[in-house]
Symmetry: C2
Subunit: 297 residues, 2 copies
């Protein structure tokens, strides 16, 4: 009684002469492993936000200045001023979001951080480089990727979408109240109803297993009700401030590459041993571009 798919690992470990076997079906992993170096896009150090927790553990976020330039400018300033240091993960709502910031809501913003930022929730679709997926989207006329970003289009607009691991800016009821001082990451099924209602600013590249496994808060909306439950943030830095082994490097597969197309097509049409019935489609949030840790160049 093997666990799901574990049998496949065991089977792979038992060597059988190749000639005795039918050709192995291609897997998404095999396609990815064969991607040429030029199809991987290195993420700029200014676009990597690195969160280190006091108790250990690191979260790395790729920022999206193209879609939310003023929010990202604020976040970079907050990081450079070390403003986030000593703040907390304060809210974990199951199947929804993990959020961090200042639970008191009283820490003054540093100079250079705009207290009111326009609602950068969508852009005119004209001028946005967009690689549509060939499958229907429930929420928009078209869905696909713009560079590394999951994007939906319709009504002449383009906007980033709330997929698993995407990072947004908490705000008050008024749309210009999100500064970047409060951030959240999606930890459940994509809450696409939030699209166009709140500013998305990036994607977690590393640390989702950590962010998604904190105890759920028992207060309303998953807020931790006791200060002892808060998870302390040691420091938040842009990667450009870090040096040596401390500095992370990431690459994301280009979504306009041949490998991305082959990989996403196969993800939608799995034919390897376990799969009997290829889905024939994949939704946007199921084909987020693969990424990998890299080294200094």
């Amino acid at each position: 009684m093997r666990p799901i798919l574990i049998a496949a690992l065991i089977a792979a470990a038992i060597a059988v002469p190749a000639a005795a076997q039918a050709p192995k079906p291609v897997t998404p992993g095999a396609i990815l492993a064969a991607a040429p170096a030029a199809e991987w896009q290195a993420v700029e150090a200014e676009d990597l936000l690195v969160i280190d927790l006091f108790k250990g553990g690191r979260i790395v976020i790729q920022l999206a200045p193209g879609f939310a330039p003023q929010h990202v400018a604020n976040i970079r300033t907050l990081a450079r001023e070390h403003w986030y240091d000593g703040l907390f993960i304060e809210r974990v709502q199951d199947d929804y979001v993990t959020q961090w910031g200042d639970p008191s809501g009283k820490k003054a913003l540093p100079k250079g951080v705009a207290a009111h930022v326009p609602a950068e929730y969508e852009r005119a679709s004209e001028g946005v480089k967009f690689n549509p997926l060939p499958w229907r989207d429930t929420y928009a006329d078209q869905a696909g990727f713009s560079g590394p970003w999951p994007v939906a289009e319709g009504e002449g607009k383009a906007w980033m979408t709330h997929c698993y691991g995407m990072v947004g800016v908490g705000r008050d009821l008024n749309p210009d109240t999100g500064t970047g001082a409060e951030l959240y990451a999606v930890i459940g099924h994509a809450p696409r109803g939030l699209d166009r209602n709140i500013a998305l600013v990036g994607r977690v590249l590393d640390g989702m297993p950590l962010l998604a496994s904190f105890p759920r808060g028992e207060g309303e909306l998953g807020v931790y009700t006791k200060p002892a439950q808060f998870i302390s943030i040691k420091r938040v830095r842009l990667a450009s401030e870090l040096t040596g082994a401390d500095r992370p490097y990431f690459e994301v597969l280009k979504t306009d590459s041949a490998t991305y197309k082959a990989w996403s097509t196969l993800r939608a049409n799995r034919k390897d041993d376990f799969f009997l019935h290829p889905a024939g489609a994949a939704d946007l949030c199921s084909v987020m571009p693969p990424l990998r840790k890299a080294r200094a160049k």
Copy 2:
């Protein structure tokens, strides 16, 4: 700098004379609170699988005998024989599944449990009572609910879908190798590519915050690599075997009710204070029927 939506809680706590206010927009929660008792369906005790962990914590699953009768028959027998007692949560793969069963794969099945069960992955759609949602589905011609179950239809077939919290039967590569001895729950964005490839047998009604927040396994596919990481299951019972305060009762909102229709429509078209741009749609897994704990009747 309040966290996302927390301001709304605070605003609600500050009393303002009603006459001074514009009428409050209706929320999904308010619609739900007004549902008449007859729109809630009590779950049969034979359909509730109750998992208690050694370290505390309970998971309650509603079984789906209509869609996977032979798998459910096996699971009921395994529970009645107390076969699951002392087994383990053994695999937690981020954005995918938490799985439990027998990591050794060697525990003999009790008498009355079929070692080979047909692939109950889909049914003829004819005869399946189905309430379609009005919105597009990425994967199938139509998506909606059949009683409490998320269902997709196409090609003359109907099948349950892998939404957050749905429970399936782990299997080996051959489709008739899933007995119910290994079960998993979806803890991430809906992996709809698994639909029609594996037997779904139910939905977690209680305990998702627990199942979704276990540490992710560091082995391949999220398998815990050290026995010390396994999370011990104290006992698994059908609710029909439990008595008094130990016995759980649940009700699920009927998906053919007026309240479900109003609730799901509003979920897709939020107009309350926080929302500027109603989505105009909701995907199947975003409108799973609401449920509530109930009392003995």
